[in-house]
Amino acid sequence: MNRTIIYILVVMMAGAGCQKKDSDTIGGLTPDQRIAKALTAYQSKLMGAPYGWMFLESTTGIAYNQGVSQNGPAITLAYYVQFVDSNTVMMFSDFDTSMSVARSSSYRIKQLTRPALIFDTYSYLHVPCDPDPAISKSPFGAGYGWGTDFEFSFSDSTVPTDAGDTVHLLGNLNSASGLLIKATQAQRDAYYSGALRNNTSAMLNILEYFKRLTVNGVTYEVRPNADRTMTVTWISGGQTQSKTTSYYITATGIVFSTPIVAGGVTLSSIDNLVWDAGTQTITASVGGQSATIKGATAPFSNDVNAPGRWWHYANDNGFYWASWNGWHVNGVDDAYGVTKVTDAGGPFYQFAYIPNLLGPQNGNPNADAFVPLVIKNNALALANYFTAPVTPPSFAGGRITFTELGTVGTIPPGGPVDKSDQLLYNPAGFYLVQTGTTSYDMVLASTARAWISWFSPF
């Protein structure tokens, strides 16, 4: 029986073997001919947009280096790109205010596993993927950018000629998704006339931490966060509500990646931001209605338990709060230059607030520490000098207020650390705004023009 089956199989296979068709070609074209045809078609697709393309790049929240991944915020970046000739591309980016002038770099289309679009010399697109955190300002750590890409595979399943006005891309390293959308002449002209710069820099003109958006008589608090998300807070039925979404900025305005539905009103973008230095106000439009954004000295609704929560989180867990840049004052990051401190025992690493660092265990009265951390012998160390606030600080009135107990070492008077300490002991105290699960901004309560951004390194 078995043998019979085998014989039948042999005959069938022999028959099939003789039925060989010209199966190496599709439509009469060899694989190489089809690849060459596809590359040419993609090339003419990209060049076939007379006013260039809007390019939206969204990350997955995961960044790779050396096969090791890190998690962080998922972001969306908006570019305007125009493929000028077979290798040159002009670009604008919303990643930084300095990227609102056109920059030329090169690109090419190449066959990899799939046909790929490679931005092959440095451009605005490469800055967020630069592994140097001093350049990318990435929260993912050294060796990682924001999880963006500059080498993309064309990921549409249709042939390029059928792709219409959009082209989908998929990043080869970090799997960021890219979406090219044909731009209109108006969009192109807006980019070249500097509209992007107005929109990216408008909010920076407001020196107060708290920013109020008023549309049609309704006021919202808007807060751009360091991880490229925006938090919108509003009051509905006496209750404070807030939503956080990533956002990107085009020549038209600030666009929320996910529209925010706030009390029956859908906010999807804030358009045409214009800063008026005279009235210290931004005028804009939201959903076609005129809107204004102004600074405010107090939060919409103060999170009165935040000061206690902030202090206890570090104290009760034996953690500390860290800041990369120290104080931001009147629109200037690291206003006192703590990152450039040289006489504190080693190169500056972070400014830290450490609850109950001092105590009987080290022969001191109980005290917190507001202390620069430096790198000494390849390890983190306390600076040679710092101030010791009373522990715990006061949490009265929904604010945190610090009082000095003493100092360790000799703080150079008038130096960056001394100035930082004086601000900490401002009698007005600080609001604490929770910006993430383990991050807070501490905002000077009197003017809201000074703040420090804390994160937990643990």
Binding site: A16, D32, N87, T121, Y122, D130, I135, G143, E151, N378
Partner: protein, 304 residues
């Protein structure tokens, strides 16, 4: 043997079956038309040549037979790593600096470009950023089997005096990698490997100053004898990192961190120096001290 004789019959049946199958499947062949288009990407990528490509052709490819890869080439650098390509505006300045400060001294010492034309790796690959390793160290350059040399951090290049540290680091990297190419062609005396003990993969936990006390010119020299050899070469030709000034300092200044001429660290490094000078004379017929003097003059003259 018994086992084989038991199995044999069924095997004998199967073997002819396979033979028949193979014969039949090949019984009809199509006549393929000859390929009219070459495989895509054969001979490398093509792009519109600009002034950078012309410069590379005239200044490196023709005189030195070197190809320069500056545009991002997927898979050419370590994959999957987060590395960025060079800024096009930095490519010509970096190559000019290499030609003037790293290559010209060899030409002056050997009398022509024949030496470099023969031994320079035929591929020079440029990257804009460094390559970050999981242990916190970064790659500044790599040499691959005498055939390719990879230079990272092109985007950081500046020839201004104030930025001379970054420039020195780049030259240090170049001399380091070219040192590898030379010792990959003709190995240094084996006795060099026994001058020091204590080579370790954990070199990045050791500061450069501590390494000098142990008889290594830099911490990286402690990684392996090969690295020790080329770090000595590059530190003598272009200075080394984290010297007494805190930045890149000349070789003699680095030696001051060993603990002085009578210290074991100083004497170990001097022993290595002697081997290197001898190696360059015997193997390459180059007066190393003269080469060093030429390198220093070239560097100082090139700073702005």
């Amino acid at each position: 043997m018994r086992l084989i004789s038991k199995i044999l019959p069924s095997r004998i049946l199967i073997v002819p079956c396979i033979g028949i199958l193979a014969g039949m499947t090949s019984c009809k062949k199509d006549n393929f038309a000859p390929l009219t288009t070459p495989p895509v990407g054969l001979g490398g990528d093509d792009w519109k040549q600009d002034s950078i490509d012309v410069f590379i052709h005239d200044s490196l490819t023709v005189p030195y037979n070197v190809a320069v890869y500056y545009k991002w080439e997927p898979g050419m650098l370590d994959f999957p790593s987060d590395i960025t390509p060079p800024d096009a505006a930095k490519v010509i300045p970096v190559l000019k600096a290499l030609l003037n400060v790293a290559y010209a001294p060899y030409n002056i010492q050997t009398g022509s470009n024949v030496f470099l034309r023969r031994y320079l790796p035929k591929a020079l690959e440029l990257a804009g950023s460094a390559e970050y390793l999981p242990n916190g160290a970064i790659f500044l350059g790599q040499a691959e089997g005498g055939t390719a040399m990879l230079l990272y951090q092109v985007n950081y290049y500046s020839r201004k005096k104030a930025d001379s540290n970054a420039f020195k680091q780049m030259m240090h990297t170049m001399h380091h990698e070219f040192g590898h190419i030379l010792n990959q062609n003709v190995l240094y005396p084996v006795s060099f490997k026994t001058i020091s003990t204590g080579y370790t993969g954990n070199w990045y936990n050791i500061s450069d100053a501590d390494a000098r006390q142990l008889g290594f010119i830099t911490a990286y020299a402690q990684a392996a004898p090969d690295e020790d050899f080329v770090e000595m070469v590059s530190s003598m030709l272009s200075g080394g990192p984290n010297g007494p000034s805190g930045g890149y300092d000349e070789y003699e200044a680095l030696l001051s961190q060993t603990g002085g001429p009578s210290s074991p660290g100083y004497q170990t490094i001097k022993q290595k120096e002697a081997v290197i000078v001898d190696y360059f004379k015997r193997v390459w017929n180059i007066d190393f001290y003269a080469l060093r003097a030429t390198c220093r003059t070239a560097f100082v003259n090139y700073l702005q």
